[in-house]
């Protein structure tokens, strides 16, 4: 996955870690552009938006709990200013993740993105290169705005025991 972003000139890559996405974070850290860990997900979104004004192609990676933290950054910055912002967002609170603290955000993630008008799709383990291309295309067509590729717990074989 990370190779795709390196090959397509993405950077800075920024965000806040998530257990479901831990293998992706490890890959992104090893890429030439590295990974910038931000203190909060909305801060990562704002930094990414700033970098877009200089011609960069940033990537923001986060857990869906951080999407909750980021609603205002999306609603009042990324969307109205039309920043073409690709995001990878995990889906905590979706089976087999039954942790109570993540269940509400798990239920809310896709409806929230839909109501914000943010294009989104769930990454498919067997077809993820196509899903990465979708994210690349939808934020690179000039119809600017954020888009989200969602990653279920099973994608990187996350289990409640980890």
């Amino acid at each position: 996955m990370a190779t795709f972003f390196a090959d397509h000139g993405y950077g800075p890559c920024t965000g806040v870690p998530c257990g479901i996405l831990a293998p992706l974070f490890a890959e992104l850290e090893r890429m030439p552009q590295g990974f910038i860990y931000a203190p909060r997900e909305d801060t990562a979104i704002a930094m990414a938006c700033g970098s877009i004004t200089t011609g960069c192609k940033p990537l923001v990676v986060m857990q869906n709990s951080g999407l909750g933290q980021s609603v205002n950054a999306l609603a009042s910055l990324a969307i109205p200013y039309r920043f073409p912002l690709p995001m990878i967002v995990s889906l905590r609170g979706i089976a087999p993740d039954t942790t109570e603290e993540n269940r509400s955000m798990g239920d809310l993630t896709i409806p929230l993105l839909d109501r914000l008008g943010i294009p989104n799709r769930v990454a498919r383990a067997n077809f993820f290169p196509a899903d990465l291309h979708w994210l690349h295309e939808v934020t690179g067509t000039g119809v600017a705005g954020p888009a989200a590729l969602l990653v279920e717990p099973s994608f990187f074989e996350w289990s409640p025991r980890t």
């Binding site: 860990y37 909060r40 801060t43 970098s51 004004t53 940033p58 205002n72 950054a73 039309r82």
Partner: protein, 222 residues
């Protein structure tokens, strides 16, 4: 009542520091005067303005393509500036202007300066002790040592200024020196009552388009 007490305490302390009636008058530097001074020093630099009133006041003083008016997303101006700085050569200064309420909302922004090793960000907080755009409610700025906090979070060079002369000296040093470290300036100002000028003339996507075009033609040079 508490906020009045804090304001009095802060002013008393500052006057005692400077020690003269003339400086006490200087302390009453209005936020518009301070903003005008910052804009003058930051001419030709990308500038991110935080939230409604600061954006409107800046636009009323002088609208310019190098202005990024961040009308919402309170607390994120420095993060935007950090993203801009990360994409430009270290020799290009980038400016973020916050209010005290915006700074208090998200001081953690500042860790990006250290994390990204940015040496070209100048963060200026105009502290009027109140949330002006929502009716002048008091902030807790009087309880907080902004400069010490900014230093602890990442900024190498920090200062607090209390009058026009100190602000001018501070900004002259920050903008004329060979860029060696990002700076933080806490600027105590007097709130200016009344409307800050009209709402933004441009739709927000055009604010971004204009700013981005300006960056592509100007800021990458030199």
């Amino acid at each position: 009542m508490e906020s009045q007490d804090m304001t009095s305490l802060r002013e008393t302390t500052a006057v005692a520091d400077t020690g003269s009636r003339a400086d006490a008058d200087d302390l009453a530097m209005g936020e518009t005067s301070a903003l005008r001074a910052v804009m003058k020093h930051a001419e030709g630099c990308p500038v991110v303005f935080s939230t409604g009133y600061l954006c409107r006041r800046a636009q009323a003083i002088r609208d310019s393509p190098n202005h990024f008016y961040m009308t919402g997303s309170m607390g994120l101006a420095l993060a935007i500036a950090a993203g801009i700085a990360a994409g430009l050569p270290p020799s290009r200064p980038v400016v973020a202007i916050d209010g005290d309420g915006s700074w208090l909302m998200n001081p953690a922004n500042a860790v990006l300066i250290g994390t990204c090793g940015l040496v070209n960000v100048h963060h200026i907080v105009l502290d009027n002790g109140s949330y002006m755009s929502t009716g002048g409610q008091p902030t807790v700025s009087g309880q907080v040592d902004f400069a010490a906090a900014a230093h602890a979070l990442s900024f190498g060079g920090v200062a607090t200024v209390n009058n026009c002369r100190e602000l001018d000296e501070r900004l002259t040093a920050a903008f004329s020196a060979p860029v060696a470290s990002s700076t933080f300036t806490h600027c105590r100002v007097r709130p200016v009552p009344g409307a800050p000028g009209g709402r933004l003339m441009l739709p927000l996507d055009q604010v971004r388009d204009r700013f981005q075009s300006w960056i592509s033609t100007v800021a990458h040079q030199g």
